[in-house]
Amino acid sequence: MIVDQAGEIIVDFLTLSPSLSKIPSASALLDTSNFTFQAISYGKDPSAFNHHAHFLYLSDYSAIVVQSYEPLSVSSYHSSAIASALLGYKLLPKYPDPLDKRLEKDSCRTINSGFSGLDVGHCANHAIKAIYSDNYRVLGCFPPSGGVDYYVVSSYDDPLSKIIYSGTLSSTYNQYGLMDVSGFLTFAPLNGAQGKAAATAGQFTSGVLLNLPNNFSSTGRVPVAWRLDAGDAGSLLLYGGVYHLGLWCLDVKAMLAEGHKPPFAFNALNNIRKYRLFAKKTFNKDLLYINDGTGLAAGLGGFNTLFNNGNPPVDSDWNKYVLYQWTIRFL
């Protein structure tokens, strides 16, 4: 769904004063990048931010811990299974509304053991900020680049004695500095042709790409493509899956109001960028749901498959990832 704010963004650039080009300190406002797509975010239902791996905080252990809702013999965790496992827990996200300005209107703040995380309406990336170093494992929703252990347990009662599957997660997004603390995955600074070349070559380590076909002007289709590596995908899975995707432009007015001047560079650790929602997509089933029957039967499917059998991929081993392509139609 393209939300109403998209129309506001279009009117913003249609009515920008040409006289700005004569003012050196303001002429950069006329660059198209101030109004084009700049970020992707992942979301889920608000209550999920206090379930799944957001639920249990073990101060003595530096690990993500989540209870499996599958039979104990299955070494898999997927959030869709939780629907029938917890009474009163609503799995589905809010319906999309053209007036939406974030992925979820209700609070998406994780509150646990006396601390709380950010409420940005979607999955934040607490691991990147030092102030969350003691509790990012509960706040989620992405692992640090250096890795963090995870335990899928059969019960929260003495959980460390009931581990049914474990391993280590590491974030490619954080390794390459592509995502800020608010969970905005940045776009690569490439134009449409360069983006297509990078996507064709499988080079996604500079961010989200515009995978623009040669005939885009006759079809009016602008495909946005990005990769969710196994470490980040597995982490999102443990924290409740992916039920929303958000496509964002910059909120130039908000940044100017804070005293920032263009160009508004992306910096994962200290991002001055503010964003405005352009489009969102809401799903009624976890995008990371894996129903690998053969693998499950062998104890190697689902989660285990995504994790490359316990060996998160490295640069030369990009064979385990989720590739997204979201096409915005202008004709």
């Binding site: 769904m1 393209i2 939300v3 109403d4 998209a6 129309g7 506001e8 279009i10 009117v11 650039f13 249609l14 009515t15 920008l16 004063s17 040409p18 006289s19 080009s21 406002l29 006329l30 660059d31 198209t32 990048s33 101030n34 109004f35 084009t36 797509f37 053209p98 490439l190 134009n191 449409g192 042709a193 983006g195 515009l210 623009l212 885009f216 002007s217 006759s218 009016g220 289709r221 602008v222 915005i328 139609r329 202008f330 004709l331």
Partner: protein, 200 residues
């Protein structure tokens, strides 16, 4: 669904005659047609495949024509049927319009130079968060007594153009909105004001 379906992008045109004593007479009031060129321009913008300057995606000019037919009021229309074809047709001897010649990007081709009238920046007004109004003013000395092959003709079509989305070295505007109106035989007895509002 495309962006037009989601946002219900549409437009509206009013045409007033303006007389020397300042009075206005409404002579036309109807919706317009957003044509495919708008989608082409926006896909170029959001696909980062044209100009890097926002100014090239702005709607900064219009054309008037004399051969409009309602069957052209469809989204596939990419040019006016009979646009005014010279500086003198726009400006005449004493008119105040600013007319310029430039190529046109039409149906994926660049045409030979055609004439446009520029919209002064102060006549581009944001009237709310999602709407912009273009006020096209023809003073009483502009576009008068038009003729084709010796016969009198009337203004009956108009179009709005995006400046140069593909950043061609010689600008090639693209038609983004189109409207056929009832015949108006323009003379120096009155001016015309077109108030054209696009809603995003």
């Amino acid at each position: 669904m495309n962006i037009f379906d989601y946002l219900n992008i549409n437009g509206h045109v009013t045409v007033h005659k303006v007389f020397d004593n300042g009075t206005e007479e409404l002579v036309y009031d109807d919706h317009n047609v957003i044509v495919s060129g708008m989608g082409v321009g926006l896909s170029c913008f959001f696909g980062l495949s044209g100009s890097n300057s926002v100014l090239d995606y702005q709607i900064d000019r219009f054309q008037l024509g004399v051969s409009g037919v309602t069957s052209n009021e469809v989204s596939t229309t990419y040019q006016l049927s009979g646009p005014l074809s010279s500086f003198s047709e726009y400006v005449g001897a004493e008119g105040e319009l600013v007319a310029v010649s430039a190529n046109q990007f039409a149906n994926s081709l660049i045409s030979q130079p055609v004439w446009y009238s520029l919209i002064p920046t102060h006549n581009i007004t944001r009237i709310n968060e999602k709407s912009v109004r273009y006020t096209l003013t023809l003073d009483k000395n502009s576009c008068n007594n038009l003729s084709r092959n010796g016969s009198d003709v009337s203004i009956n079509e108009l179009g709005l153009f995006m400046k140069n989305p593909f950043a061609f070295s010689t600008p090639a505007p693209i038609l983004v909105a189109y409207k056929v109106i009832s015949n108006i035989r323009k003379t120096n007895d009155f001016g015309l004001v077109f108030r054209w509002t696009l809603n995003f």
